[in-house]
Symmetry: C2
Subunit: 90 residues, 2 copies
């Protein structure tokens, strides 16, 4: 879904044409993505254009980054503790 929207904004019909599911199914997925702020909607006539919301992508990136840093930090602490209790062997 997001991979279709990478290349820019699309209408519901355009998206459905590129996916192996029906148009209402696309509509329902888009609702979830819109509620999750992952996607933004823009109406022009009867067409609804959807595009990726870069801001939320940044939030996701920040979260993953944080997790990554914490994981590395606690691993470093683990290694340090290991060396202390094992003596400075090797």
């Amino acid at each position: 879904m997001l991979d279709v929207l990478r290349s820019g904004s699309h209408t519901v019909g355009q998206i459905a044409a590129k996916m192996p599911i029906s148009r209402p199914a696309v509509s329902q997925q888009l609702r979830v993505l819109r509620d999750a702020q992952l996607v933004t909607e823009r109406h022009v006539g009867t067409r609804h254009y959807f595009s990726i919301n870069p801001a939320t992508l940044l939030d996701m990136r920040a979260y993953v980054d944080e997790l990554w840093r914490d994981a590395l930090a606690s691993y470093a602490r683990h290694v340090a503790l290991q060396e202390r209790t094992n003596g400075t062997s090797r």
Copy 2:
């Protein structure tokens, strides 16, 4: 789940104690996370220690980053096209 493992490796029992679900449920979730490479396992005695896999976190970060860049790029293209067809107004 991942938020429990942020602070370092834990055994299955330790994790279950910090969560509102049973130990087997934790075990099942860990299996999914392990299959998805999000988590690594280390056995010592009968205890199974689980920790976050930083490598996969980097992969996720790369994907989100890529998506973010594409979204911005196509938005820029959209704006440029808009200005051209609207004349150099404003």
